[in-house]
């Protein structure tokens, strides 16, 4: 006990830098956001008054929040599974010792160096109904009014752009996971007479478990926090069909723009939703994940 207390000054000294940074950039803003969420302030964020903590409940149940939550969940469901599947497929394809494979690895991972803004602008022009290449190929709704301008297709179109932009990340993570699988496993599977698909489904996928859990959690959290795609591609439209929770908080076309209290409430609720979701994912999936010996 006494020794522990003697260590305390050292402990505090060593912890101080990160504590300081954490409190300034994480804890204080978080606390302030939670506090603001029950208030109503003027457009400059001043003259705040309490509107009761039930503001959180009302925000959660409000039409706008429910719609944005629905958009966000649908966006995650569209992007995460497809993104993971494509990432695994590309990584397995590129996990060969062939001449020139480095070129393909570079290409497949290149989107990791592409910012959301660049990726979105690229897709904005590809999908543009008037001058976009894809619009003329696809025709129909892609031409009039355009995939990003039609209520039924806008979220899908944004999801495609987002999947593409995140593919590099998934590819790199899965490639790293693949390289950590011992070659002996494949050899013995081969000896046991396992074909290509059996080796993939009984060796590769299980051994990738931790990697996929990590990638899945990160991609889900990214999907829930995606903003740039919506801002640049659709501006939350058409008719709110791409107003995600983040767009409801920050977007130029959000009706709670300049309404700090409500913006904070939505942001905090998004935080809670994400925490719950990550906990669910990790608890639900972790039991099924093999971390090796």
């Amino acid at each position: 006990m006494s020794r522990r207390w003697r260590d305390l000054p050292f402990a505090v000294a060593f912890l101080a830098p990160s504590l300081l940074i954490l409190s300034a950039f994480v804890l204080y803003p978080l606390g302030r956001a939670v506090w603001l969420g029950h208030q109503r302030c003027d457009a400059t964020g001043a003259n705040c008054r309490s509107n009761g903590w039930d503001q959180y409940v009302d925000v959660f149940r409000s039409e706008e929040f429910q719609q944005a939550l629905g958009v966000t969940v649908r966006f995650a469901l569209l992007t995460v599974p497809v993104g993971l599947a494509l990432g695994i497929a590309l990584a397995v394809l590129a996990d060969k010792h062939l001449r020139g494979i480095g070129f393909f690895r570079t290409v497949f991972s290149s989107t990791v160096a592409t910012s959301v803004a660049v990726a979105s602008l690229m897709w904005f022009f590809l999908l543009n109904p008037s001058v976009g290449v894809l619009a003329d190929w696809i025709g129909g709704v892609a031409k009039n009014p355009g995939l990003l301008r039609d209520e039924d297709t806008a979220l899908w179109a944004v999801a495609v752009s987002s999947i593409w932009a995140n593919l590099g990340f998934t590819f790199i993570v899965v490639t790293a996971g693949l390289q950590s699988i011992p070659a002996e496993l494949y050899e013995s599977a081969r000896v046991d007479g396992a074909g290509g698909w059996t080796r993939f489904s009984n060796v590769t996928l299980p051994m990738l478990g931790p990697t996929l859990l990590f990638a899945g959690v990160v991609l889900t959290s990214r999907a829930f926090q995606a903003y740039g795609e919506f801002d640049l591609l659709t501006g939350g439209g058409p008719n709110g069909s791409t107003t995600s929770l983040t767009y409801l908080v920050y977007g130029n076309n959000s009706i709670i723009k300049n309404n700090v209290g409500l913006q904070a409430a939505v942001a905090v609720l998004l935080f809670v939703v994400l925490i719950l979701l990550s906990a669910l994912q990790i608890r639900g999936v972790e039991r099924r994940v093999h971390y090796g010996n």
Partner: protein
């Protein structure tokens, strides 16, 4: 070494599990039933009564004759805002600049939202100003656009705000309510500034409660852009573009049936374009107020009026253009490019669109590059904005210059010194010639280079003439609403639904009720 048995047993894959968990969580969250109330009401007591009738008919003292456009509500006994005494506002001491400049130039930090060509021209002008004298040194900071400038200004405290900021026309009430500015009127009075050359309507746009808050700088309004070659191909007179909405629809149908182009007009529903801003313009052209209490200029507005008979018939006409032929709807038009790109569409082009005059310089530059096959610089025609009855005139759009209070007397004075330079006839002449903006100085069109531009290229003059032809009516000064940008978004939402075929009266009434909630919420918070 063999595959461990527990791994062989597993049939569900992690990927599947992740999907299942996400789906389950999503369903649980969504199952928590919504209240059906707007987020704006969160935390408030439920309102006892919700007005379901259209507001236009509930005003006492106002009679609505069916089938006729409403007369603006007579101001029999409205709540009135008394003129604010100028002494109650931060003062402006222009002599402070003389004192401070003796020790070297006073630095003025200027935030603006002018991108690309516009930004480069502004940089050039600032450079010339800095080189021309040694009392004031202006430091220009581009904020990324109007919206970013507004956000950053609102969320900053005095120390982190600039000395001078450019704010778009829809922020007048928002800025007044920040109580953070030296009204330019204080500076004008301090040195007896002669504003006789500044466009009166532009000044009025930025004056409320008897105070001139800001100085207009870049003035724009919507104009009709059309493809003259298509007009010729369709047998229409390229020098007689449509002025009324009926003529617009007619011209569009002629173009489409002749096969000269796939579509007549390309319509959009951008909040700062076809969906929001144009609606304000159209109502003003028809001599109607956009919101009550004289567009919020006699007293704070409590509700919008765009869902009245004029708004409904206007949007019905626009919807018919899209539905019955004559035009095409291109969506929310983020970035303002979609309507222009529709004119350049290789397979199914439109031949007309309505857009801000401020884009003219950029559009001509773009076309001059020869990127678009079949459209030359001379094929672009510019005409006044068509309106229901073809009435001339326009609301003042664009942006103005606001001086920040509390950053020092010398800084405020230096900022106004620079403001005087920016609105001088010489600078406005250069600025308007380079950009397509309307000069806010009435002497500017008489000076080179604008004199030459207006003489050789009358297209640049259209927006200027629109301002000059504006009738002298109370409805010619645009709405001042705290949440005007958000109100525009609600109007734009209605416009989008209507151009997709929805019933105009219903869509407008829904948008108006949301807009009124926004106004009530704003007024309760300020």
């Amino acid at each position: 070494m063999s595959v461990p048995p527990h791994m062989q047993r597993r049939r569900r894959r992690p990927v599947v599990a992740v999907v299942a968990v996400v789906a389950a969580a999503g369903c649980v969250l969504l199952a928590a039933c919504g209240s059906g109330r707007s987020i704006l009401e969160a935390g408030n007591e439920p309102r006892p009564t919700t007005p379901t009738t259209t507001p236009a008919t509930t005003v006492p003292g106002q009679t609505t004759v069916p089938g006729q456009t409403t007369v603006p509500a007579p101001t029999t006994a409205p709540p009135t805002t008394l003129p604010r005494p100028i002494d109650s506002l931060p003062p402006c001491d222009m002599a402070a600049l003389d004192t401070a400049a003796a020790d070297g130039p006073v630095e003025v930090l200027f935030w603006h939202g002018m991108a690309n060509e516009l930004g480069r021209e502004l940089e050039r002008i600032v450079g010339e100003f800095n080189a021309s004298q040694d009392r004031v040194e202006v430091r220009l900071e581009f904020q990324g656009g109007y919206e970013q400038t507004i956000d950053k200004y609102l969320q900053s405290d005095t120390d982190n705000r600039p000395d001078l900021v450019q704010m778009p026309e829809y922020t007048v009430q928002l800025m007044v309510d920040t109580q953070s500015n030296v009204p330019v009127q204080a500076c004008m009075e301090d040195i007896g500034y002669d504003a006789a050359d500044i466009l009166p309507s532009a000044l009025r746009a930025y004056a409320t409660e008897g105070i001139q808050w800001a100085m207009p700088f870049n003035l724009s309004n919507p104009v009709l852009y059309y493809n003259k070659q298509v007009f010729r191909d369709a047998g229409l007179d390229p020098e007689a573009p449509p002025r009324t909405l009926d003529e617009l629809a007619e011209a569009g149908r002629t173009i489409q049936s002749s096969g000269a182009a796939a579509y007549g007009i390309a319509l959009d529903s951008a909040p700062d374009g076809g969906g929001g801003w144009f609606l304000e313009q159209w109502l003003a052209k028809e001599g109607e107020f956009y919101s009550d209490n004289d567009n919020g200029r006699a007293a704070p507005s409590t509700r919008v009026l765009f869902d009245g008979p004029t708004g409904v018939s206007l949007l019905t006409a626009l919807r018919d253009v899209v539905v019955n032929g004559g035009g095409v709807y291109v969506g929310e038009n983020p970035g303002g490019t979609d309507t222009f790109l529709k004119l350049a569409d290789a397979s199914a082009p439109a031949s007309m669109t309505i857009a801000t005059s401020a884009a003219l310089g950029a559009v001509l530059q773009f076309v001059e590059g020869g990127i678009i096959p079949g459209i030359g610089v001379d094929d672009i025609g510019i005409a006044p904005m068509p309106s229901p009855t073809g009435a001339p005139g326009t609301l003042v759009g664009g942006a103005s210059l606001w001086i920040t209070a509390g950053r020092g007397d010398a800084e405020a004075a230096a900022a106004f010194e620079f403001v005087q330079y920016l609105v001088s006839a010489e600078v406005q002449s250069q600025w308007a010639a380079a950009t397509g903006y309307v000069p806010v100085n009435t002497a500017a069109p008489g000076l080179e280079p604008l004199l030459g531009v207006y003489a050789t290229d009358p297209r640049f003059r259209v927006a200027y003439d629109q301002v000059a032809e504006t009738p002298d009516l109370p409805t010619s000064d645009g709405p001042v609403l705290g949440p005007l940008r958000e109100v525009r978004v609600t109007a734009a939402g209605a416009m989008a639904q209507i151009l997709n075929g929805a019933d105009p009266a219903t869509a407008l009434a829904d948008a108006a009720s949301l807009a009124n909630a926004l106004i009530a919420d704003y007024n309760a918070r300020r």
